[in-house]
């Protein structure tokens, strides 16, 4: 019913739009040049005002009303039986609700029946009240807007102000969500550090990661929460991935933008971008089932013992996954380098290779750097491939042929494991927060670099 009201409000608002528009035309007897704002703006203002008022009232009454009913009923229960505990009162209320909607209650005594009646009455009142009041608000706001229409009513400025506010609000939602996430990360991190008695250095510099093995009465063992192996693993896999992705991605971008014929380009570019559409799970089992055994077998052939899960396999496959990001973005920025620069270079007798190396790539560098950074953040945040191909053991090693684990994998293990959520959440959130800080710093550094180049070349 409330959804229906919502659509009714929208329909009314639309009607106000149409009426407002024609009314604006009518007040000046068809000569729209006399209007301060064009008829459309009068319509839009009526639409915005009526829709906003209606929806705001609907939301407010809907939520506040429910809250008010709840407190009212609880106090009614408590005044009928003053010695009841609040929890019991809530039980009575939920039983009464069940009775009111014809469900099954734990008990049905006179009090419950009495409250159930009230629930039904107030509920209906609230429901219809909300519907009617919000529709009335819509009508009032819309009619007010219609009444205001005259040749010098500044509908354009007003509607633009409203639209600007709406845009601001949506931007604020995005920002506030981010802030909220970061704040919750920070709080959980503080909790975690509390848990290990603020021995932060044990987390940052310790080399043993096994947080859940030493839990005693919800207390973690500070000697087993050293995150160094995880960050080392992340770093190693990221480096391997970038060693694969950057050269391949960049060279294919150069090929596509400057060497490929339009025909080749027309099918090669979508093919490359198709790589980006493959779900990472698929990459993961490709790494685990095809590449890792292949690496192990070829290692054995030359007398090396290689773990069946290795950083190398995960890194290579992750690199393949990142190629399209780098190639596609670099291709865009390389294409954006003006033809006149290339012409200038060719006009001096430079070859294609010289032109690309000395003119095109330097000009495209800021874009390429940000493409690479996007790739790095993908690599750092990637989980699926590592879970399947690199292992879960927190191994501190510099050998890419051994199994390693990464920050993200450990977060997954902690959250999906069967340890109590409150214990596991601490280390997980702290890892997440640290990862967030690392990527943030990286982004800031990268933007510095990019800005410096921009200044130089723009």
């Amino acid at each position: 019913m409330l959804t229906l009201t919502f659509f009714a409000i929208l329909a009314l608002a639309l009607a106000f739009f149409v009426i407002g528009r024609s009314r604006a035309v009518a007040v000046v007897h068809g000569d729209v040049r006399l209007l301060h704002s064009r008829p459309n703006f009068h319509g839009i203002l009526a639409l915005l005002l009526s829709a906003i008022c209606g929806i705001a009232v609907l939301l407010l009454l809907g939520t506040m009303g429910a809250v008010w009913i709840e407190t009212h009923l609880l106090s009614a229960i408590l005044s009928a039986q003053p010695d009841m505990s609040p929890i019991e009162a809530e039980l009575v209320l939920s039983d009464a609700r069940a009775l009111a909607s014809g469900g099954i209650a734990s008990k049905s005594d006179p009090l419950r029946l009495e409250i159930a009646q009230q629930v039904a009455r107030l509920g209906a009142l609230h429901h219809w009240g909300t519907v009617i009041v919000s529709l009335v608000a819509t009508l009032v706001a819309g009619l007010w807007a219609l009444g205001k229409i005259s040749s010098d009513w500044r509908a354009r400025n007003r509607s633009e102000t409203i639209i600007r506010r709406i845009l601001m609000l949506t931007a604020a939602i995005a920002v506030l969500t981010t802030v909220g996430i970061v704040l919750s990360l920070i709080f959980e991190t503080i909790n975690f550090f509390n848990n290990i008695d603020w021995q932060v250095h044990k987390f940052l510099f310790g080399t043993t990661w096994s947080p859940l093995s030493g839990v005693q009465a919800g207390k973690l063992d500070p000697d087993k929460v050293g995150a160094v192996p995880l960050f080392a693993g992340t770093l190693m896999i990221t480096v391997i991935a970038m060693l694969v992705a950057v050269p391949v991605g960049l060279f294919s971008a150069v090929y596509l933008s400057d060497f490929a014929s339009p025909r080749v380009r027309a099918w090669a570019k979508p093919m490359l971008e198709l790589l980006a559409g493959i779900p990472t799970v698929v990459y993961g089992f490709f790494a685990a089932i095809t590449l890792a055994p292949f690496i192990r077998n070829s290692g054995e052939a030359i007398g090396l013992t290689i773990a069946s899960e290795s950083a190398l396999a995960a890194g290579i496959v992750m690199g393949i996954m990142i190629i399209p990001f780098i190639s596609s973005l670099s291709d865009d920025v390389i294409n954006a380098v003006p033809q006149s620069l290339r012409d200038g270079s060719y006009g001096l007798g430079a070859t294609k290779a010289e032109t690309i190396r000395q003119v095109v790539l330097p000009a495209a560098l800021p874009g390429i750097v940000s493409a690479v950074l996007l790739g790095v953040s993908r690599a750092v945040g990637e989980t699926m491939i590592v879970v399947m191909a690199a292992g879960q053991g927190a191994n501190l090693t510099a050998n890419p042929l051994e199994a390693v684990t990464t920050v993200t994998v450990q977060i997954v293990m902690l959250i999906t494991g069967d340890t109590e959520a409150s214990t596991a959440a601490g280390p997980a959130f702290t890892l997440g927060f640290t990862l967030f800080c690392v990527t943030l710093l990286m982004n800031i550094a990268a933007q510095r670099v990019v800005r410096k180049y921009r200044e130089l070349y723009d």
Binding site: Q339, S340, G344, G347, L348, G349, P362
Partner: protein, 267 residues
């Protein structure tokens, strides 16, 4: 009567040596026929001006002379263009080498995103014209001096060339083109972004270049064409309507279209 002018003309062209000669050149952009059967002989160590209304194919023809049109996929050139008797569209000719001999300055200034010094040093470096840093410095300084911009940039050689004003950028591009020491310099409206003083400097430079180089310049300014060039070709709708001594074209044009263009009635 006609015969005698013909022989006179032939004699005159025979007496000077010809650097570039185009025979029956046609250029197509896809289906657009931009240059229609053009014959043109460009004198060695002289300045030749191309004039004509916008869109008549001046830039297109200019770009044929150093095969810059190769970089445009849809562009097709037929006919012969000979540089010192050698067909530049022959299979054996490498466009890269050709462009080192036939340099180009573009209509819009296009400095590379490099320092002023590196902009000028670019050509000499890739062609190995300097044996050491000192020689390179010398080439850079000389080129910038000749492009009439040295005094303005000598203290900021290592700042980006893109930070210069439009007119300075254009002179930088001229300096960059001279630094490669081409035999022929093609200039497509080199002064369209310049103020009168810089224009005068560039015109002086062009006059000076005539000692050693063959210069072909596209210009929309009749005065400029009259001032700097010895020969003028009037382009109209892809044809060369009239070609001859600049003096003759500007004082006594043969074709009525030329006359109306230079007196400002078409274009």
């Amino acid at each position: 009567m006609l015969d005698t002018t013909q022989t006179l003309l032939t004699e005159r062209t025979m007496s000077k040596d010809i650097k570039i000669s185009a025979k029956g050149v046609d250029v197509f952009y896809g289906d657009t026929h931009a240059i229609k059967n053009v014959d043109l002989e460009i004198e060695n160590k002289a300045v030749t001006a191309f004039i004509g209304p916008s869109g008549c194919g001046k830039s297109t023809f200019l770009r044929c002379i150093n095969r810059m049109n190769d970089t445009i996929d849809i562009c097709r050139v037929t006919g012969d263009i000979l540089l010192e008797g050698q067909d530049i569209y022959a299979k054996s000719v490498d466009p890269v080498q050709l462009r080192a001999r036939v340099g180009m300055v573009f209509q819009k200034p296009n400095p590379f995103p490099k320092s002023i010094y590196d902009n000028v040093a670019y050509g000499p470096t890739i062609h190995g014209l300097a044996k050491n840093k000192a020689e390179l410095d010398e080439i850079v300084e000389q080129s910038l001096r000749r492009a009439a911009i040295w005094d303005e940039v000598k203290d900021r050689l290592h700042q980006p060339g893109t930070g210069l004003s439009g007119g300075q950028q254009q002179r930088l591009c001229i300096g960059r083109a001279i630094a490669t020491a081409p035999e022929v310099l093609l200039m497509d409206e080199p002064c369209s972004a310049l103020d009168p003083i810089a224009t005068a400097q560039v015109e002086e430079l062009i006059d000076d270049l005539r000692q050693n180089y063959t210069v072909v310049i596209v210009t929309h300014s009749m005065q400029q064409a009259a001032r700097v060039s010895q020969k003028t070709a009037f382009f109209h709708l892809g044809n060369v309507v009239e070609y001859g001594d600049t003096n003759k074209i500007f004082t006594n044009p043969e074709d009525s279209r030329t006359e109306s263009y230079i007196t400002g009635r078409i274009g």
